[in-house]
C-alpha cells in the first residue's frame, strides 16, 4: 500500500513542479498517463520484487568465497528481473538501447526502488552511471559493446575512485596506467568500491581513475574501463581483497580491489579523467538524495501507521488512545512528514533542471538550468542523506522500544542511511562545493537564479505565507552578500560553510513548502513549518556571522 502512496505523492508533486511543465512541453511523449503508468509500475515492482530482498540482504550480507564475492540469496535473480524490466536504462538514450526518458522520470521512480532494496540498487546505480559515462566519453565500439550488456544485466560496472590515501582528496590517487605494446595496463589498489566484485552477472567493468601523467593533483588522471575478466572469461588481474564490515548496507559488498597490470580501455581523453567523471558524479549525488528520500518515505509511513494503531495513555479509566493523539507524537510525525515531502519536491525540481540543462532549446536556458541544478545538488545530496538517517531515527523514537528491534525495518534503514552523508562527497565537501565553487569561484549565478525562482514561486501564493517567505528570501540575500565577502578570508568562510549550506536548505525548504498543499498538507501546518524554518534560517544565518 505505502509504495503506491509514495508513487501518488511523487506524481502529485511532479505535477506542480514548474520545471516539469517546461520539460513536458519539450517531450510530447511524457504525457501524464504514461508517466503515471511508469511510476506506478515502479512502485509495484519495488514492492513485489525488491522489498522482500532487503532484510535478507542485511541479515546474510556478502562474503568472499574462492576469491569471488557471494551476494545474498535472491540478489542475482532480483537484479536480472530489474534489468529485464528495463529499469536500469529508463533515462539512457534509445540509441544505446535505453528508454530515453527524462531524468525526471527516472528520479520519480528511483526512491521507490531505494525504498525496496537500497543495497541491491547500489549495483544498479553503478551500472546506470557507467552507461551514461560510456555513452558520453567512450569510443563507439566500447559503448556499443558494453552499454547493451549493462542494460540487460548481463554485465555490471563499478566506479573506482578512492584509494587508501585518496578519499576526499582525489588528487592523491596513485593507481597508475602504463601504455605498453599498444595496451594500457592498470596497477594499484582501490577501496570503498560498491559491488567491486559479485555474482550477479558474468562480467564487471570497472570505470576507474588512474594516473597517466606526471602532473601532480587531478590533472594527471585519466579514465579507464577495466573489465574484471576478458571476453573469453580469462581473468584480467583484478582481485577483490576484502569486503568491508560495515554498520549497514550489508547487501552491498564494499570491496578493496587490487589491479595488477590489468588491461584497460582508455575512456575519452588522457588527463581529462576527473572532468569527464563530473556528470557521473552529479548523477551519483542525485541518486544519494533519492536513497535518502526512499528511506525517509518508508520510515514516515511506518511511523504514521504505527502511531494510529498503537495505544498508550489517556485517562486511566478509559481505553488507551492512539499515540498519534498525543501532542508531542503529533509534532514528531508532522516534522518527519514535512521534511520528507520537502525533500521529494526539491528532488524532482533538481532532476527536471538537470534535464533542461541538456535539452532546453536556448543555450542561455540550458546554462541557467545547469547553474541552478549544480547549486541545488549539494543540498539534495546532503539533506537527502540526512533526512534518510534522521527520519529513520525519528521513526524509531515514535515506535519506542519496538523501533529499536529488528521486528521493524527502521533500525536497518538507519544503519543503511548512515553512509549516505559520507560517500559521493561528504557533507563537508558539499558545503565547500556550495561556498568555494558555486559562490566564490563561479560568482553565485546559480544561487541568484534559485533566489529569483524562489521569490517568484513564493510570491504567487499571496497571503501571510508569501509575506513570510519573501522576508526569508531577503534575509538569505543579505547572508549571501556576507558570505561572498568572506572570500577575502577563506579560512573564516570555510569554517562557516556548513552553516551556510544549512541556511540555504532552510530557504529552499520554505520555497518547496508552497507545493505541499498538493500532497494534502493544510495551510495551518504549512505556516507552522515556515515559522520553524525561518527560526532555523535565523540560527544558521547567525552562525555564519
Amino acid at each position: 500500500m505505502s509504495f503506491s502512496d509514495q508513487a501518488d505523492r511523487t506524481l502529485a508533486l511532479l505535477a506542480v513542479t514548474p520545471g516539469w511543465q517546461r520539460l513536458r512541453s519539450l517531450r510530447q511523449d511524457c504525457d501524464d498517463e504514461t508517466v503515471a503508468a511508469i511510476v506506478g509500475e515502479a512502485a509495484s515492482f519495488a514492492e513485489r520484487v525488491l522489498a522482500p530482498l532487503d532484510a535478507v540482504g542485511d541479515r546474510i550480507g556478502c562474503r568472499i568465497e574462492n576469491g569471488r564475492v557471494v551476494t545474498p540469496p535472491g540478489f542475482a535473480a532480483g537484479y536480472r528481473q530489474f534489468a529485464a524490466a528495463g529499469w536500469i536504462g529508463i533515462d539512457v538514450g534509445e540509441c544505446h538501447g535505453g528508454s530515453g526518458l527524462p531524468l525526471a522520470v527516472q528520479a520519480a521512480c528511483a526512491p521507490l526502488f531505494e525504498r525496496g532494496c537500497m543495497s541491491l540498487m547500489m549495483a544498479a546505480g553503478s551500472a546506470r552511471a557507467a552507461c551514461h559515462l560510456l555513452a558520453a566519453v567512450a569510443d563507439a565500439e566500447t559503448a556499443d559493446r558494453w552499454i547493451p550488456k549493462l542494460l540487460a544485466g548481463d554485465w555490471a560496472a563499478t566506479i573506482c575512485i578512492s584509494e587508501p590515501d585518496a578519499g576526499s582528496d582525489v588528487g592523491r590517487i596513485r593507481t597508475a596506467a602504463a601504455w605498453h605494446d599498444g595496451i594500457w595496463r592498470v596497477t594499484g589498489q582501490k577501496v570503498w568500491i560498491s559491488f567491486g566484485d559479485h555474482d550477479l552477472c558474468g562480467r564487471i567493468g570497472h570505470c576507474l581513475l588512474a594516473r597517466t601523467g606526471e602532473e601532480a593533483g587531478t590533472r594527471g588522471l585519466s579514465l579507464f574501463l577495466v573489465p574484471d575478466r576478458h571476453a573469453d572469461g580469462r581473468p584480467n588481474g583484478v582481485t577483490p581483497e576484502r569486503i568491508e564490515e560495515k554498520m549497514g548496507l550489508h547487501g552491498s559488498p564494499t570491496c578493496a580491489l587490487r589491479f595488477e597490470a590489468a588491461e584497460a580501455i582508455l575512456l575519452g581523453e588522457a588527463g581529462r579523467g576527473l572532468p569527464q567523471l563530473f556528470a557521473m558524479i552529479e548523477q551519483m549525488r542525485l541518486q544519494t538524495g533519492g536513497q535518502g528520500l526512499g528511506l525517509a518515505s518508508a520510515c514516515c509511513d511506518i511511523a504514521e501507521a504505527y502511531a494510529r494503531e498503537r495505544r498508550q495513555g489517556g485517562a486511566p479509566d478509559a481505553p488507551a488512545v492512539p499515540i498519534a493523539a498525543h501532542p508531542d507524537v503529533r509534532r514528531q510525525l508532522r516534522s518527519m512528514r514535512h521534511r520528507t515531502e520537502i525533500l521529494r519536491a526539491a528532488h524532482l525540481e533538481i532532476a527536471c533542471a538537470m534535464d533542461l540543462a541538456r535539452i532546453a532549446q536556448d543555450p542561455p536556458d540550458r546554462a541557467a538550468a545547469r547553474d541552478f541544478a549544480g547549486t541545488l545538488l549539494p543540498l539534495i545530496k546532503t539533506f537527502g542523506a540526512e533526512a534518510g538517517f534522521d527520519i529513520a531515527s525519528a521513526g524509531i523514537q515514535v515506535l519506542g522500544g519496538a523501533g529499536y528491534t529488528k521486528d521493524w525495518p527502521l533500525e536497518r534503514h538507519l544503519r543503511d542511511a548512515r553512509v549516505m552523508s559520507i560517500y559521493e562527497g561528504t557533507t563537508g565537501m558539499q558545503a565547500i562545493d556550495l561556498l568555494a565553487r558555486r559562490l566564490w569561484r563561479d560568482g553565485g549565478m546559480g544561487l541568484e537564479i534559485c533566489l529569483e525562482r524562489a521569490a517568484a514561486d513564493i510570491a504567487l501564493g499571496g497571503g501571510a505565507l508569501a509575506r513570510s517567505g519573501m522576508e526569508a528570501v531577503e534575509e538569505f540575500r543579505a547572508l549571501l552578500a556576507h558570505m561572498q565577502a568572506l572570500k577575502a578570508t577563506p579560512e573564516a568562510g570555510l569554517e562557516r560553510a556548513d552553516s551556510f549550506l544549512r541556511a540555504f536548505w532552510c530557504l529552499v525548504s520554505i520555497w518547496m513548502l508552497r507545493r505541499l498543499g498538493s500532497v494534502g498538507l493544510g495551510e495551518d501546518e504549512l505556516r507552522q513549518s515556515v515559522d520553524r524554518l525561518r527560526a532555523e534560517l535565523a540560527l544558521f544565518g547567525r552562525l555564519c556571522r
Copy 2:
C-alpha cells in the same frame, strides 16, 4: 590512555562544581586524594577489564539455550571482577556492605565503566538500583539477605516495569499479585527487561510492579521482589520467553519474561509501588546520562586522535595535511568536545545535588537540592542520551568511510546509544516531566533555583561572556513566564514541551561552559560556543511561541 584522560577531565570539572565543594565540607572522608585514587582506579579497571568485552558482546550477543540466557564469553567473569572490586556498591550504605561514598563519586566513575562496556553495565546498574531500592523499602530481613549478595555479584537483580500494553503508560500494567495462604504470587508478562535472565551469577531477584488493588491507573500497583528461583535452587515460575533482537546493546539480553504464580516478597507498602520506585527511577535516569557521557567521551577521543593522524588535502604538490587542520573538521571536533564537556559538568552538578538532597543539614537546603536535581534530571537523561548518539554519529563523520566500518568502535557506540533516548522514559516523557510536572504542577521552584544559580555563576566570571550569559538568563526567564501561561491551554503547551526542554538545555549549557576553562578550553572558543548556544536558545524560544 584516553580512559585516564577522561578521569582527569572528570576530576578537573568536579573540582569546580560548587555542589561538590559543599558536599566535601559534609564528607571529610572525600578528600581530593581519595577521590582521585578512586576515579583513577575506575579508569584503569574500565580499560583493563571492561573494554575488551565490548566488541565481543556486540558480535556474539546473547541467546536462549535450554530455557536460560547465555551471555557473551567473558561477561560472567567480568561481572564477578566488577563486583569483587566493590564497584556495584560505591554509594550503597556501609550498613549494607557498600562503600557509602557520595553518589557524586559513583557518577564520576560510572561514565568510565559505561565507556568500557555499556552492555555489561546494564546488569550492574540494575543490581545497584535494586540495592538502593531494597535499602529504602524492603523489610530488614529481605534487605540483609539480598543486598550483600547483590554487592558481591553472587546474585543479580532486574527492574520489571513495562508490559506489552504498558510502556510509557505505566498505569496500564496488568501483571497481578494475589495473596493466598500467606504468600504473594505474581502472574503476568513483563517486557524490555534488561538482563531479565542470564548466567552471570546464581540467582536473579526481579523488582517488579504488579497490581494488587482494584483501583485503575498507578494507584493499584505494588512493588515486589520475585526471585527467579528459590533459595534451594527450585524454579519459581519465571520463564524468559524471548530475547529481543536489537539494533545494538547485543551484550545486554533484553528479555520478555513470564511469571506464573511466582512467589513474591512485598516491598514496602501495598498500593505504593510507583512512588516507592521513584528514587530508583531517578537513579536510572542519571545512569542513562552517564552512559551517554561515557560513549560521547570515547567518540570524541577517537575522532580527535584520528583527525590528528589521518592526512588528506592541502596543496597537491605538498604532503597531505592532517584533517584536523581543515576548518570544517576543526569545527566538527570542537562542537563534539564542547557538547561532551558541558554534559560532563552538568552530570556532576546534578549528582552532587542529589547527594545534598539527602545529606544537607538544613531541611530547606535539602528541599532546594531536591527541586534543583529533579529539574535538571530530564535534561541529563535526554541530552546525555542524545550526546551519546549524536557524538558517535559525528565521530563517524570525522572518520568518513572508516567510521562506518566495524574496524572502529564508533558504529557500535552509535547502535548502542540509540536506545538511550527511549528507555528510562522517552524524550517525550522527559519533556512532559519538565513542563507539566516541574513547572505546571510544582510551580517551577526547581527552575527558579536553576536560574538563580546559573545567574550567580555566570556573573562571577565577568566580561563579555558574562554579559552574554546574563542576557541568556533573562531571555529564558521570559520564556518561562510564557510557558507557565500555557498551563491554561495544555495541548498547546505540550506541543511545545520538546522545544522548551531544548531551550532549557541551551541555558544550562551556557552556564556549564563557564567551567570548561578547567578542562583546557580557551576563552575564544568558549565565546564562540556561547554565541552558538544563544542562537539555539533563540530558535527554541521562538518555537515555543
